[in-house]
Structures are given as C-alpha cells and as structure tokens.
Symmetry: C2
C-alpha cells in the first residue's frame, strides 16, 4: 500500500452502452455474478454445466455439442482455428470486415495456409465467390466466414457458405458473436461445424466467456488429427471433454462467468428466441427511422444490414472522436468508432440484448439531435423522436422480459 | 424453452472450499462482480486498469509490467510458453508435480524443444540439478519452474533458479498461481522474467483471470523475435499494449473479472502483504498441529512444504473418493484429491485467501474427527481441536481484514 492509501470499494459510472459491445448486462445476470464460488469439480457445479449445456444447445439450435470457451470471443475464434486445421492446411477465410482480418492474422500466425477471400466492406458476400475459390483450392480443409460483421454492419448467408464448403469436402466454421440470440441462427439445420459467440452482445452477460457449438464431425476430426492442436488451453476436444458427461478436468473453469452465462441464456430462453429476434428488429427499425429523419446516411443496404448494429455515415465535417467524446461526457452514452476501412467515417450504434429497448433509441436520438448542430450539422427539431415513435407504433417492440 | 420450462434465478450451495482452488471469494469481491458493465475502451475503464496496473505491481513487487491475461491460470501458463520461446528453441521445464507436467505438454504441443528436468515429487528441487542441465544445454532459451506446486504441496527456490538461468543466458518464467499473496514473492528483486498467477487462490477472487508480471527484457524479446507468437490471443506483447499507456485495442476485456480482481487486490493491499503471508503461515500451522494430533501423516517435510496447501497421507484403508464425498455431503466442505503420483494416496487441504481463517481450521478438524473413524481409522476425541487451539494461542492468526 503506497503512502498508507486504503483502497475503497470500487464504483463505476452508469453508462448507456450503445456501441458494438460489450453491451449492458441484465440486473438478474449481474446478481448471478455475485453468487458464492463453488469448486469446478463439485458435483453441484457439474449439475450446473450439464443444465447449461442443454440450454446452450437450445440457443444455438443444436443437438450436437454446445459448451463455452474460457475467454473472450477472440478466444473462441482462435480455438476454432487452432483445433479445426493443422499447420500447412489450406483454410479459406472470407473477409469483409475487421474481425475477418483478425481471423486471417490468427490463421497466419498458426502456420495455416490461409487463402483470404476479400470482398467489399458493407455488402453481403456473394456465395459465387466462395464457389470459385474452392474450385481453385480443392484441397481446402476449412472455410471460415463471419455471420454478422460488426465492423461493417453486414449479415452474410452462412447457411449457403456451409453447403458450398461441404460440397467441396471442407468443414465450415463461423463467427456468431453478434448474431447469437439477436437474429436467426440454426446450427444443425444449416449444418455448421463450429460456431463461436460472445457473452456480451445479444445475450446480455458480461464479456469474458465464449459460448460455442460444434458438430460431432468436427470433434471427430480433432480427436483423430495427426498432431494435437498447438494450443492446450484452446483445444476444443479437451474443453468438450470437461463439458461432456465424464467432466474430465481441464483448466479451472471460470465459475462466476458460467453463473452469469447460465442466467443470461435462461433469460433469453424465457423471453423466447423468436421474440428476442423480433425485439432486435423492431428497435433497429425505429432507430433507423429516427436517424433518417435526422438526414443521416445509413450506408448499408436493406438486405445486407444488421439489426443489432447500425452503421451511420458521419456528415462531412463532423469529427468522430469529438462527437463520441461529447456523447459520453454529456449523456453517458457510448457509441462505437469506425474500424479499418470505415475508421473516422462512421459511428456504429449497437442495440443488443439488455440495451435493445425503445427508451435507449429515444435517448440516443435526442442526444444526437442536440449534439450534431454543435458539430455543424443541422437537423430538424423533434423529427427523429417523432419518426422513431411512429415506427414503433406501426411495428412495436416486444416488452423485454426474461 | 423445452415444454414451457421457465428458468428461475440460479442458486448455488454454500460450501466451505478447502481444496487446492478455486477458493472462496470475499463478499466485497463478489459485490464488485455485480457492478454494471462499462465499455473496455471507455476512458473510465482505462482509469480502472491504470489503477489496477499499479496495484498488481505492488502485489508482485515489481516496477516493470504487471497486467492480466483473460483466462484461467493455465492461460497465463500458455501465454508465457508461446510468447517467450519460439518453436525449436530449447526450454528446460523443471518437473516435480502435475502442473509442471502440464507445462511440458503445452511446450511440446507448441513445438518447443522441451527438456524435462524431473525430480522427486514432494521435495524442493535442488538447484544443482538445474546447473547441470544448463551445462548440457547451453543453448537454452528459457527455464520454467513452479514456485508453489499445489499437486505436491512443495515450495521451490525460484530466486536461485532465476539466477542460475540468467547466468547461463536464459530467461526465467515461473508459476506463482498458489504463491502470490500467500507467501513471499519479489518479482524484481528475484529478477524474474515472467510470472503468472491465478485470481482464485490467495487473492480470493473468482477464477478466470490470470494476473501476471513481466520484465522489460521479456517484452523486448517478444517484440523482436523473428516470428510473432503462434497465438494472437495469448501474445503477451499485445496484452501488455492494451494494459499500457496507449491502451491499444486487443480482444474485448473481461470487464467483471477485472472489477473482481481490482477489488481482491485492493483488499490484499489493505490487509498488507506481510500480514497476509503471516495469516497463511499461522492457520496452516494450526491445521498441521490438529492433523498430527489425529495421527495423520504429513509427508512433506518442514523446509519443503507450503502453508497454502497441506498434503495429508490417507491412512491405510481409507478410500479417497468416499472420504471426500462424505465431507462434501455431510459438512459441505470441499477438500482436494491427489493428482498424478499422489492420486488416491493423499488429500489436499487448502487454506487460501478468504478461506484461510481459524474457524475453517476447526470446522475441518471436527469433520475429520467425526468422519475418519467411520472409515476405520481411529482418532482421539477432541485432540485435534485442542492442538490447533493451543497452536493458535502460541502463534495467533492476524484478523482477516481488507
């Protein structure tokens, strides 16, 4: 202790988090985070993870493996890449955003023969591009593509990508960090081999644990590959064995994060997945109506855009950093910055999970209406709230329960 | 939701956790776990991790780098191995327990040229063994050794190991999962290059985050190695950059776990590290006095044993699994099983952090006094509690504050 300083209990500011994630966690989830610790080999804890395994299966819509990786969504990403291909294997990574580029960096570090398949940011990738690439690389072991790219605000037809990959004899891995519990996802029906997500987006749990689903085929592959994955911590077969019926000890499980994830998944299932998807759609529609009433440009077209995350083009002359700082300082509202090709040109507004309610839509639109003119962009008075309200009258948001 | 099932709020049993970890978290820490989420790029969150960086430096006793890896202690372990050596490099791994063997498995998976240096379980390793190994392997890049081996209940002279490694031109990495905040550790004075710990032992936070310290020399090595670490998630230089003054974005930080870690470290510093070490010593002494009064054998000798974790030899005929199950079912007390060479032959009793108080010593001794005769091992009535009490009168435990 320096100079006799005493560390008082931590306090944190109250924020309205409307960025790309983490998003707010539900009070019920936060309460679960403060439950007492029990051992990760305690039979009572095994009961909990057995229950959670079934619940995760419902959220991913799979009867195959569902469990969680003890780390951020990026740990789920790396677990898939290190487990589902060996150094030297050809892996096609579709790239239309910042997080696709992260997959490429990871794959290259792991010594995979990465074939990047780069298409335009802000548009859904045409499946024909993948068909062509697989013709050129018939030796491909694994195809990787992101379902909902938060850096570009786009959704991609992963069910079709998976069919194309399988037809060419490759496995298919996908990132559902932003899509899980926020829009349709059918792990078994779409024949996905591995999907990793995050806890901190549409599930409304704290960040730091990555729920995943894996096909039996993928698990067989890992168990039978000629050399085990270079990572012990992120070896999906070892993690699956801890979550499986024998509960084979691996690393110490993140007990509190698993409490929080269980609670969040329980709330999502109580609400009903279809209702939750509808809630994301309705609030995003209201937000878009309001933003358009402010004369802001939404550059992602209707068929390609996400409901969870809306990309807004910054009007000429509006400084990204200053605008976001003002929203944070004066309204305690966080919105996201642009990344990669969109850096400095857009802001990203997330409406996910706990944050995805009409109150937040109105609060943000009001803050923008007050703030933007101070940055030299004129907007009509009250128009945004009126437009959002009209849209919500026409297409109401389900009440957030759970 | 299956059959209209509604998921009610999670509850968990109340346990007295006296195993090798996780150990109980303090109520103040659990409260911090339930604070609202803020963004991992929020200036308020940067203030928090800047404060925590300084606090971790105090706990590790370093003016160099202190931060945390977003995963279990095993993630800290793998982060060190993947960051501080390249495939093909010679790495000497001292092995005198189960977790040393885990390091060997990880190192081999990573393609390091691992030289295992195996010595007897249950004894501190003689530094002469390391001197000899380094003579045989002058090309050694890294020496790895565990400070407090919980599987064998032993402490090892890592300051001396570090001196020997440096003299031979190698870096030195160590596991302080069980030692940090439980017994003396001097990162800078002992010239360690990398030390990883866990949150869930003597720090009394939930498991799932690995506090680490790293020398500037180690960071320079990572920044200048010919190829980057094969892991992006566990690349210590990228993690250090997020925790450093520029807060370069890496993966999403585990916000709640960082809240809990901050609170736990604050409590340890409020208590005072020396007082906390003394608390571990005094309660372990009382426990040992009580166990000896029960005629139980403590196989680790005085100079080699830990205070945080006591190895108890099971009397002939006492079944490990049945005894532990009875303690859990009838007393809600968790003790640990034997691992590796000690499997089925010992139980392991942890007194760490929040769990390390006289009340728990007495509760466990009483449970053993009642239980052991039912397993065919006769013990004297009340002798254990009397012996522990006498020991605590002679050598009192500091009151646990913080």
């Amino acid at each position: 202790m320096k100079n006799g300083q005493r560390y008082e209990p931590l306090t944190v500011p109250r924020r309205m988090i409307l960025g790309p994630g983490p998003s707010s966690a539900s009070p019920r989830v936060l309460r679960a985070m403060s439950l007492p610790i029990i051992g990760y080999l305690d039979p009572a804890f095994f009961d909990l993870i057995d229950e959670l395994t079934g619940m995760l299966g419902e959220v991913f819509k799979t009867e195959q493996r569902a469990f969680s990786v003890a780390g951020a969504g990026s740990a789920g990403m790396e677990a898939g890449l290190v487990s589902l291909a060996q150094p030297g294997d050809t892996v096609i990574i579709c790239s239309y955003g910042h997080f696709c580029e992260r997959q490429i960096i990871m794959g290259e570090r792991l010594g995979l023969n990465v074939v990047p398949l780069r298409t335009e940011w802000g548009r859904s990738m045409d499946p024909g591009v993948l068909i062509d690439a697989l013709k050129q690389h018939p030796e491909t072991q694994l195809v990787v593509a992101i379902h909902a790219e938060t850096s570009a605000g786009t959704i991609h037809p992963i069910a079709e990508f998976a069919r194309i990959a399988h037809k060419a004899g490759a496995m298919f891995m996908t990132d559902v960090v932003t899509s899980l519990a926020g829009c349709e996802l059918e792990f078994d029906e779409w024949e996905l081999d591995f999907a990793y997500s995050g806890s901190q987006k549409c599930l409304a749990a704290p960040p730091g644990i990555s729920p995943v689903a894996m096909s039996e085929r993928a698990l067989d592959y890992i168990r039978n590959r000629s050399k085990p994955p270079t990572s012990w911590y992120l070896d999906l077969s070892l993690i699956a064995d801890y979550w499986g019926k024998d509960h084979v000890a691996h690393h110490t499980a993140p007990v509190s994060m698993i409490y929080g994830l269980r609670e969040a998944v329980g709330m999502a299932l109580n609400e009903g997945l279809e209702t939750r998807w509808k809630r994301h759609e309705a609030n995003a529609s209201a937000l878009r109506a309001g933003l358009e009433a402010l004369n802001l440009e939404l550059p992602i077209s209707k068929g390609d855009r996400l409901d969870q995350l809306t990309i807004v083009k910054l009007p000429k002359g509006v400084d990204d950093v200053k605008l976001r700082a003002q929203l944070l300082d004066e309204y305690s509202i966080e919105v996201g910055r642009g990344l990669g090709k969109f850096a400095g040109e857009v802001i990203r507004i997330g409406l996910m999970g706990e944050s995805c309610v009409p109150a937040n839509v109105f609060a943000l639109l009001n803050a923008l209406e007050k703030t933007l003119p101070e940055h030299g962009f004129e907007v009509g008075s009250g128009a945004a709230a009126a437009a959002a309200s009209a849209q919500l009258v026409k297409n109401p948001s389900p009440l957030f329960t759970g």
